[in-house]
Each structure stands twice: as C-alpha cells, then as structure tokens.
Symmetry: C2
Subunit: 110 residues, 2 copies
DNA sequence: AATCTATATCGTAATATTGCAATATTAAAA
DNA sequence: TTTTAATATTGCAATATTACGATATAGATT
C-alpha cells in the first residue's frame, strides 16, 4: 500500500519511529550536524551549506520542524533555526532505554 | 526524483541516516522492542507478535538485517533473530556525539 | 514604491516504501 | 516420501518521499 499501519502499534513505538524517520535522510542529518557545529542558531545560511536546491532544503527543514527536532523563529527577513532541545531530550530518553536493555541482554544470545 | 543524493554527504552522515531510516517504521521499532523484551534470540515467533502479514514482517526483518541491526542464523527450519550488538554500539557512539554537542550548546541559542 | 534577500509553496516527475496474496523454498516430522 | 511449519521471494497496487523549477510571500534596503 505505501502507508504505515500506525494504528496497530503503541504510541511510543510510533513516536520513536517518527523521530528516527525524520533523521533518516543524510540531508537532515547534515542540517542537525551543522546546527550543532555552529553552536548557536542559524539565521539565513543553511541553504548554502547543503548540496541541494533551496526548495529541497526548505522541505527538509519543514520535516525536521514537524518532527519537533528543530524550531524556527522569524528574525527580520531571515528565519532563525535552532535545535529543539526538549524533543532531543525525549529522544535521548527513549534511546537510553533501548540501549540499556541491550547491555542486560549481552551474552544471553545465540 | 525520489532518490536521495547520498553522494553529496559524508559517509558518516549517510551511515547515521541509514540506521535511523531502518528504525523509522513502527513495525521495525516493535521488532527491536520484542527482541529486547524476550531477552534472547527469537526462533520462529516474530510474525505472531506483529499486526502484519507474514511477507510484510519478513520484509521488515530483511531491512533491519540489511542495516546490520539484527542478525539471523538458520536454526533447523526456523530462523534465529538477534540484536546485532556491534552495530548498536556504533549507533550509540554516533548518537552520544550528537547528544553531547547539544549539551554544550545549551543556552547559546535564541 | 521598487528592489533585493531569504524562505515557503505549488506542481510535477522519478523513485522508494509499504502491504499483502500467491507462490517458492527448506528443513523437520510423520 | 508426503506432509507440515517457518520463512523468503515475486508481483503488484496504493501511497510516500525526494528533488527541483517556477512562483509566491514577506521583511529589509534603497
């Protein structure tokens, strides 16, 4: 079909999947990368940092925003993009649960 | 187009994106969840745990396997699926780098 | 007001993903 | 050796994603 059957999974599973999916494209990883390396918000500079056309970058930014991973506030005629630390914290919690379980499992496996 | 322009991003960005993408579907999150809760390998039991038809589950398992997140060894007429701890460790390293940077950035932002 | 700059939206083509029925495969069990 | 059980593969339909040119929008600058 092409559409995920989200209704049959837990909310948590869907939330994790949505965050992972949002980061499941190198351009979006690169955007997060860049926001982290500059160590502050970016106002009007992201398009030049990526090997993609402006509408494509805009689309990727929109997806990151929808997933809650970044925030964008209008700043004059540019837009200031930031990491949304709250969502990342949530993501990190999900992940530490998962990675925690892996350690416990160690050597219990074939 | 529909195809990602992977050649224009770093290997690391592509690797992270591939791992994220593999976990970017609730069914695949559920599979990993299940492998973790049973706390050992699963031999012939995964299909019944998911609200999806057998070929669909098989396909999702294949994707997790391609991403290196799980391993499958033939065990009689069933197949034993396990978490691939090595890949998860790599993934965890990538992520701790990212999350580490976020902490440093804190309060540097608009 | 006209222009520039940054970003978003629309429309659309190419490709990928999701899901499943039907069928194949493979090894154990009868 | 026929049957059963578990899993994979094929083929296909529905939908989603990716990318970008063209165009729109909105605020700053001249």
């Amino acid at each position: 079909m092409g559409a995920s059957k989200t209704e049959n999974f837990t909310q948590k599973q869907n939330e994790i999947a949505a965050l992972m999916k949002a980061l499941g494209h190198p351009a979006r990883v690169a955007i997060i990368d860049y926001l982290l390396t500059v160590d502050t918000c970016i106002c009007g500079d992201i398009v030049n940092e990526l090997p993609l056309a402006q509408p494509t970058v805009s689309q990727h930014l929109k997806e990151l925003k929808n997933a809650g991973l970044i925030k964008g506030n209008v700043e004059g005629n540019a837009i200031c993009y930031c990491i949304d630390e709250e969502t990342f914290a949530k993501f990190q919690n999900f992940l530490s649960e998962v990675f925690g379980k892996i350690k416990i499992q160690k050597n219990n496996c074939c």
